[in-house]
């Protein structure tokens, strides 16, 4: 057993100004980037200070993603575009091509490709160096809201859509390689359950999937089987796609933790192996949907819709005792 301890409040609640949708810890573990309207706020974890990076987006952001070298942040905006901003030099590229708000982003581990998905039901793959569109994958029939790429293997990418499908694509050709469906095993009364987020395990062999009924599943996607199910006990049809992530405790022997935010402002953590509930954080984000969860090492960053952003660290109960 273990639990999260609060180490810093990155940002206080901003009242009802504008929705805050994403906060991500940088790959080098030194900074946190969060969406602040159309701009990016960069918080330095050690200095506890923040800088605002302005973008030329005309509408608020839905998601952002650090480049693997922690030098750039890509932003997905409701103005249909993606902008790649260098933390020191400002804008590098503006990627124009989607025909509806862009919902999520992901760099490959090499940083040479950026994948974006949109309410226009497509996924686009961009060349980071030139800013040109390489290919468009259109294989969903509802907004695509989440994409992920395994941490060391850019040969595949996974997408989750409101059409209830989880698809795996070949990055190089854009061909669909596999489709994991929910309605086969989870017969909901109104048909499919929209998918809200997909996340690969660090070895790229499993896929954690969250759907809008608040249920999380780990898929063995090669075999097409669900191997774990986690139920947080939320209502059946949620409004917000609340965040989730895997957390890998420092001890190799410890099983990874599944961390998930809820619409009621709770953060729930399970042991990925035993499915045992480890911790349920209720005292922060009170009543505000937890929009994003981002883990790095034993750090976890959570942000709620009102802008409250907290930084936590995972502590093994043995070491605290």
């Amino acid at each position: 057993m273990g639990q999260f301890q609060l180490i810093a409040t990155v940002k206080q609640s901003q009242g009802s100004k504008q929705p805050f949708t994403a906060a991500k810890i940088s790959p080098n573990g030194q900074k946190i980037a969060l969406c602040n309207g159309p701009d990016i706020e960069i918080y330095d974890i050690h200095e506890k200070t923040s800088v605002l990076l302005s973008t030329l987006h005309s509408r608020p952001l839905s998601d952002l993603c650090w480049s693997p070298d922690s030098q750039c942040v890509a932003t997905a905006s409701d103005d249909f575009t993606v902008i790649i901003t260098h933390v020191a030099y400002g804008e590098l590229h503006r990627l124009v091509g989607h025909t509806a708000p862009v919902t999520a982003l992901k760099f490959t581990h090499k940083g040479n490709l950026l994948c974006s998905c949109s309410m226009d039901e497509s996924i686009k793959i961009w060349d980071t160096l030139t800013g040109s569109l390489l290919r468009t994958l259109s294989a969903h029939s509802e907004p695509v809201v989440s994409i992920d790429i395994p941490p060391h293997d850019a040969s595949i990418l996974s997408s989750g859509s409101y059409d209830g499908l989880i698809r795996i694509f070949d990055t190089a050709t854009g061909h669909c390689l596999k489709t994991l469906t929910y309605d086969k095993d989870w017969q909901s009364e109104n048909g499919v359950v929209p998918i809200s987020q997909v996340r690969f395990s660090v070895n790229g062999k499993f896929l954690l999937v969250k759907s809008l009924d608040g249920i999380l599943k780990i898929w063995d996607f090669v075999r097409g089987k669900v191997v774990r199910t986690f139920i947080s006990g939320e209502s059946n049809s949620l409004r917000y796609t609340c965040g989730m992530d895997f957390l890998y405790p420092a001890q190799e022997a410890d099983d990874p933790i599944v961390v998930s935010g809820t619409e009621t402002g709770e953060i729930v953590c399970w042991d990925s192996q035993t499915k045992q509930l480890q911790h349920r954080i209720k005292r922060k984000h009170c009543g505000n949907p937890v929009m994003d969860i981002s883990c790095h090492g034993s750090l976890m960053c959570s942000i709620s819709l009102c802008g409250e952003c907290n930084l936590w660290t995972w502590v093994d109960s043995e070491s605290t005792a």
């Binding site: 260098h86 030099y89 160096l129 390489l134 294989a139 060391h152 062999k205």
Partner: protein, 440 residues
């Protein structure tokens, strides 16, 4: 390379590429090509000394070695990637061997100047960061220690070979001294026995050296022909050697040694010749692991294809067509199963790969693609009522099997090592900014 697990296994496991899929029309005349070990990048050496690195994901150039000063200024002779793909060795007709750290590809990390053009440069030798070079009109290969800021160069020759004429006569080394081996043209470090270096000379000799940091020992020599050695390759497993010489023949040997690595034996397996046109061969490559295939490009304006033989039988199994000109250097990327070669006239670079057709049934998992119509027959248990309780039990059982979210796969389905992180060339932000602000 998880995509391979999800694709048609029969196509994935094909052992050589089949179709020309890509042509890089580079502005500079390419004269040698080399894939990084991971297959992520393709380095092209050009006749004006430029070395351009292409990203195979985007098919665009991402770096040019020495563009901040210190690039080669004459034709590139060889390119070699380090095992982790972070460093590149280049040799050129401008007399230089240069080491590049791709963390900073703009300037060479180390460089050595010889007194004449350098033929080849390959990783290996007695040093942690070292290489073996062969140089124009030099009797011996050189070993270079690249660790110090100013690299240290040493001739690779046995102490007996150093002796003066008189001493040779008086000593018991007569048999050695008798031979005039000619200039050393090619050199390969053995992939398994790291202290063994095999060289090929202008008079058709193989010479096997055993190198330690204390001494160099010539342990074996063997005459394969009475002509120049042009290329020498050793299979990944180390038991197969092929040598391309100017007598229009590629000779393939099986190489064996005793346990102490003091005795070696070359057994000729096959001779590959173009019996009709009597063409010379430009370049040769083995396939991965135990080298089940050998691919070669032919010299002369009438030749436009790559020839691929099965090494166990020596039969020609495939001709890779599509390039409309004579092909020069060859490289084989085992991770993505593609072969590349550069054209002599245009300097274009061609890539042959496997073409895996889209699997439409992947879009709808309940459907199955069938070759022809199949008459429907109900299966025994197809409509059996499964109790909800049993079904749930089955699902629960599946959730009790241990899962490992951390450990990475060691090998891909083709047997290539994939469980370590290869070097990623950093994005050149300066060039993006330069382009963006060009018109301002």
């Amino acid at each position: 390379m998880t995509n391979l697990l999800l694709q048609d296994p029969f196509t994935v496991l094909k052992e050589y590429p089949e179709r020309l899929t890509q042509t890089f029309e580079t502005p500079l005349q390419t004269c040698c090509v080399e894939f990084s070990h991971g297959g992520d990048y393709l380095a092209m050496g050009c006749s004006n000394g430029a070395v351009i690195l292409y990203d195979m994901d985007t098919a665009k150039p991402i770096a040019m070695l020495g563009n901040r000063g210190g690039g080669h200024v004459r034709s590139i002779q060889s390119i070699a990637w380090s095992k982790d793909d972070r460093y590149i060795l280049t040799s050129s007709r401008d007399w230089y061997v240069k080491l590049w750290d791709l963390q900073k590809p703009g300037v060479p990390a180390r460089q050595v100047r010889f007194e004449s053009p350098v033929w080849t440069c390959q990783w290996g030798g007695p040093f942690d960061l070292g290489c073996i070079a062969t140089v124009y009109e030099e009797e011996y290969a050189f070993s270079i220690n690249l660790t110090p800021e100013t690299p240290v160069v040493a001739k690779i020759c046995d102490v007996y070979e150093y002796l003066g004429e008189d001493e040779k006569e008086s000593e018991e080394n007569e048999e050695l001294e008798q031979q005039d081996f000619g200039y050393t043209l090619v050199a390969c470090v053995h992939p398994v026995w790291k202290e063994i270096l095999i060289t090929g000379t202008s008079k058709g000799w193989f010479k096997i050296y055993r190198i330690s940091d204390q001494k160099v020992q010539l342990v074996h020599s063997y005459r394969f022909a009475y002509s120049n050695a042009k290329h020498m390759i050793i299979s990944q497993s180390g038991d197969r050697v092929a040598i391309n010489s100017s007598d229009r023949t590629i000779r393939q040997y099986s190489l064996t040694a005793n346990f102490e690595l003091t005795e070696f034996n070359f057994a000729l397996e096959h001779r590959y010749q173009d019996v009709i046109n009597r063409l010379q061969w430009n370049s040769i490559r083995f396939s991965s692991n135990s080298a089940e295939y050998l691919v070669a490009s032919a010299h002369g304006s009438s030749a436009r294809d790559l020839y691929l033989w099965e090494t166990s039988t020596g039969t020609l199994v495939r001709v890779l067509e599509g390039a409309e000109e004579e092909l020069m250097d060859i490289d084989w990327d085992f991770n993505h199963m593609c072969i590349t070669s550069n054209g002599l006239e245009t300097g274009n670079v061609y890539v042959w790969s496997l073409v895996i057709p889209p699997k439409w049934s992947a879009l709808a998992p309940d459907f199955e693609e069938v070759e022809e119509n199949i008459e429907y027959r109900e299966k025994e248990d197809e409509f059996d009522q499964v109790g909800q309780f049993e079904q749930q039990q089955e699902l629960d059982q599946a959730e009790e099997v241990k899962i490992d979210l951390r450990t990475r796969e060691k090998f891909d389905v083709r047997g290539n090592e994939i469980n370590f992180n290869r070097f990623v060339i950093p994005l050149d932000y300066d060039s993006i900014l330069m382009l963006k602000h060009w018109d301002k």
